[in-house]
């Protein structure tokens, strides 16, 4: 096996991985950085983010407002000290991207422009039309080319971490083009592999979003935190799940049921007014909007279409010219994929899985409990999203915590000696054998389970048991089903036996990762006997229970068996758990809180 000696290995070259690489290179140009990605960096799923990225800029806004929106939006299981740091850094990071060339949309005077987003009290979402993630990713990728110490491993697929003497010391990768294995030795490792939305059926995620890094860390004993919190985005394309950004509503789009009625007013988000009001109606948070859809469907007030029930996202009143300027990609998606002209006809939408709030447990410095291992971006749980992420906080997170991870990993790399190559190689050879056995199989027999069948059954059971509303019985059925699929996975059939671009094999490895992540989600969900944020139960646990569940779940890997779930404390600095209300009720609650604070 080939060996590459790096100081820092970064798995993932999306927004978080690229930002980390640049930060590490700037912290110490002497360090050799291996930036590994299973796709070319600009294909990473950050590319698909549409709406925008948060950062306080307006004079009537404040860091406190951003903090309160985030913590309340997360239903109070956020790490408040980390949120304080986060909101204080966002704007600088957005300016940094601007200096690197990101084409932010502008006001006539040349300053950057901001738009409204769900759950945000004041407009603070920086945007580049409706291709924000695309522009951020390309800006970061192209800027990273400036730094000679960043050595990229494009289209290298990571199969394992190498851990020795209680610290991570490298990673094992497959070169997709050849099927060859390489051990990349590193003194510190950053995981930035993105989310895991593809474990669900209908989702907004790209094919590569399979939770690989979460599973790799988890298998080495690092807990996955808050995995039960999975965000459904309320406005997605029926069938494919492709996203119509929240910016559609930020710009004034309306949600209508089959009677043309703005149904959100029936779910504590009203009153319905002509002009968009922040944190009300269509600008409420995602969990509430997806839940309202579910109830409308129960009441028979949705529209039935071949790919399921839908409601209408109405943008007609914004007019073609404005839509083409602010939401050009949305316009094209509707036209090309649905044959709908949004200036003339409302767009049919339904909720789909979008974002994993939980992930690899790390502290505010992005350090996991395993020495030398850091994580940033959607794969991590640094603690800012709680039970429900606010739109536009995630892109900002990639920058703020990508940078932190890069700096910290660089510091750590300086503090330790390189590992013993011979013994690391022995471990790497074991990882290689494990991966190859999926194709060659120990028993020499042909597998009988199709990858696609297992994947489909997994995605269906996750939707059935861990969807917008959850029941004990159905979650139990999902846990059982995932356990069954893990057994059947041992008998998976990788048809392709070749070395060059064997995607059949890589899909099988990804499916193994997905099953572990799905299991962590399902068991974390069934154990949380309350309703909070994106985790809503209808079986006697409809209310939030701060006495027993104002805490983070932590799933620990247990090999063949069910994960062990325990709980960690939530850090509260200045916001005591309160009633989470939006619309007029939310404004009233906020006034009361402010008055109470002034007495």
């Amino acid at each position: 096996m080939e060996v590459f000696e790096a100081d820092i290995a970064i798995i993932g070259a999306g927004g978080a991985g690229l930002r980390a690489a640049i930060a590490a290179a700037e912290t110490n140009p002497e360090l050799k950085i291996a930036l590994i990605s299973k796709v070319y960096p600009m294909r990473s799923h950050t590319v698909a983010a549409e709406g925008g990225s948060a950062g306080v800029v307006q004079t009537h806004d404040s860091l406190d407002h951003h903090f309160n929106d985030t913590v309340g939006g997360g239903d109070w299981i956020c790490e408040q000290d980390v949120v304080e740091y986060f909101v204080a850094q966002c704007t600088e990071e957005m300016v940094q991207l601007e200096h690197w060339g990101c084409p932010w949309s502008r006001k006539p005077d040349g300053h950057i422009n901001v738009r409204a987003f769900g759950g945000m009290k004041i407009e603070r979402t920086w945007f580049a039309a409706d291709k924000t993630g695309f522009h951020m990713l390309h800006t970061l990728f192209q800027t990273s080319i400036k730094y000679p110490s960043i050595q990229r491993f494009d289209e290298f697929f990571c199969v394992d971490l190498v851990v020795e003497d209680g610290r991570v010391q490298g990673v094992v990768v497959i070169e997709t083009a050849t099927g060859q294995f390489t051990l990349i030795k590193a003194k510190s490792v950053i995981i930035a592999t993105g989310g895991a939305g593809r474990v669900f059926r209908e989702n907004t995620n790209g094919g590569i979003v399979t939770g690989d890094g979460m599973a790799m860390a988890y298998r080495h004993g690092v807990p996955l935190r808050d995995m039960e919190f999975v965000q459904y985005h309320p406005t997605c394309m029926p069938g494919t799940g492709l996203l119509f950004t929240e910016a559609c509503r930020g710009e004034g789009g309306l949600l209508l049921n089959k009677d043309g009625y703005r149904y959100l007013q029936d779910y504590g988000l009203g009153p319905a007014e002509d002009k968009p009001r922040n944190k009300a109606m269509e600008l409420g948070p995602r969990d509430r909007l997806s839940q309202a859809f579910w109830y409308e469907q129960q009441k028979g007030r949705t529209i039935e279409e071949p790919h399921g029930s839908v409601v209408h996202l109405d943008l007609r009143h914004l007019g073609e010219a404005y839509l083409r300027e602010r939401l050009p990609q949305i316009y094209e998606l509707a036209e090309e994929f649905l044959g709908v002209d949004p200036a003339v006809t409302p767009i049919p939408v339904r909720p789909a899985v979008h974002y994993t709030m939980g992930g690899i447990l790390v502290d505010g410095k992005c350090a996991s409990p395993l020495s030398g291992l850091y994580a940033a971006g959607e794969c991590s749980s640094v603690g800012i999203h709680g039970a429900n992420r606010l739109g536009s906080n995630s892109l900002a997170e990639l920058c703020v915590f990508g940078k932190v991870a890069g700096i910290e990993a660089a510091k750590y790399a300086k503090s330790v000696a390189p590992g013993n190559t011979a013994s690391l190689l022995k471990q790497a050879a074991d990882s290689q054998k494990q991966a190859e056995q999926l194709v060659t199989r120990l028993d020499g027999k042909k597998g009988t389970e199709r990858i696609a069948t297992l994947r489909k059954e997994m995605a269906q059971t996750m939707e059935d048991g861990c969807g917008i509303y959850r029941l004990g019985d159905s979650m139990q059925a999902t846990c059982d089903k995932i356990n069954e699929l893990k057994q059947r996975f041992k008998n998976v059939n990788v048809e392709d036996k070749s070395s060059v671009w064997n995607t059949d094999w890589l899909l099988a490895i990804e499916l193994g990762y997905q099953l572990d992540v799905a299991q962590a989600m399902a068991y974390s969900a069934i154990n949380r006997k309350e309703s909070r944020g994106a985790h809503q139960r209808l079986d006697g646990f409809e209310a939030r229970d701060d006495v027993n569940f104002l805490k983070h779940s932590q799933a620990h890997y247990a090999g063949e068996g069910a994960p062990r779930i325990d709980y960690g404390a939530v850090k509260i600095t200045k916001s005591q758990p309160g009633t989470r209300a939006y619309g007029a009720a939310g404004e009233k609650a906020e006034q009361e809180r402010e008055q109470a604070a002034h007495v």
Binding site: V39, Y40, M42, R43, H45, V47, A48, E92, V95, Q96, E98, H99, W100, G101, P103, W104, S105, R106, K107, P108, D109, G110, H111, A129, K131, F134, H135, H138, Q142, T143, I145, K146, D154, A177, G206, G207, I208, G239, T240, L242, L243, P306, H307, Q329, E332, L333, E336, F337, R450, I451, A452, E495, D496, S498, S499, V500, W501, N502, T503, D504
Partner: protein, 251 residues
């Protein structure tokens, strides 16, 4: 779901270097519905008919740039090309033209990446600014000037369409020319001289015949042909042959 399932023949150019001496066509009968993309057709083949078929894809929404291929001879993003448009005759899918085939529909894209890296695709500030000074001011008009050229998703369809690149791969080509132009005309940038200096005259012939096919196939309205032509005109001011590979990075 209530739709009646139709079947469409999809012919795919296969090439497995460990087993095929040259590319061969293979036909699959694929059930489809009217909303299915060509990419979804390929996924069906991989999932249920032949797991060994290889192709790149990810976003499914025409933004990651992975899924470029030839559909009936036309460079296309398979995720936003629809099967219904080829029914009942069927369609033929091949790897992107003008690039070496690595396997099946996967091409070797090293040349494109090397070109991208070579043109300094980042802001070289006219006037450096600290973070505390805040953002550079840039009016909407100044932004609009380069925005179109910054929308390139690196899908390389324009390279598969470019007759000149097909003849001489040293030609820097439409997409990267658009990227170079994007930075040169950004009001924050002062690196144009450096970028143009690197584009050297001796390494091959620049002979864009301005057929404009590159712009026609571009799925993102970048109009890379326009970037080439704008710079061609400008180049006439000093020397003509500058849009070829930078010294030393060509293969």
């Amino acid at each position: 779901m209530s739709e009646i399932e139709k079947i469409i023949p999809i012919e795919v150019l296969r090439y497995r270097p460990e087993q095929d001496t040259e590319p061969v066509l293979q036909t699959f009968q694929v059930p489809f519905t009217d909303d299915m993309s060509v990419l979804q057709g390929l996924q069906y083949i991989k999932d249920y008919l032949d797991g060994s078929l290889s192709f790149r894809w990810s976003c499914r929404m025409a933004i990651c740039g992975s899924c470029g291929m030839m559909v009936n001879g036309i460079p296309s993003l398979s995720c936003k090309t629809f099967l219904r448009d080829y029914y009942p005759v069927g369609l033929r899918i091949e790897a992107l033209a003008h690039f070496p085939i690595e396997r099946d529909l996967v091409i070797v894209m090293d040349d494109f990446i090397e070109k991208l890296e070579s043109i300094k695709p980042y802001i070289i500030p006219k006037k450096p600014r600290t973070l505390i000074e805040g953002e550079y001011l840039q009016t909407p008009t100044e932004r609009d000037a380069y925005e179109q050229f910054s929308s390139c998703i690196n899908c390389m369809l324009c390279y598969a369409a470019c007759p000149q690149y097909g003849l001489n791969s040293k030609f820097i080509g439409p997409g990267i020319m658009a990227l170079l132009h994007r930075y040169n005309i950004d009001s924050r940038d002062g690196g144009k001289a450096q970028r143009m200096e690197m584009v050297n005259a001796e390494d091959g012939v620049f002979d864009c015949t301005a057929v404009g096919y590159c712009s026609k196939v571009c799925p993102k309205h970048v109009d890379p042909g326009n970037a080439v032509n704008l710079n061609k005109m400008e180049s006439a001011k000093d020397y003509f042959l500058r849009f070829v590979m930078p010294k030393g990075t060509g293969k």
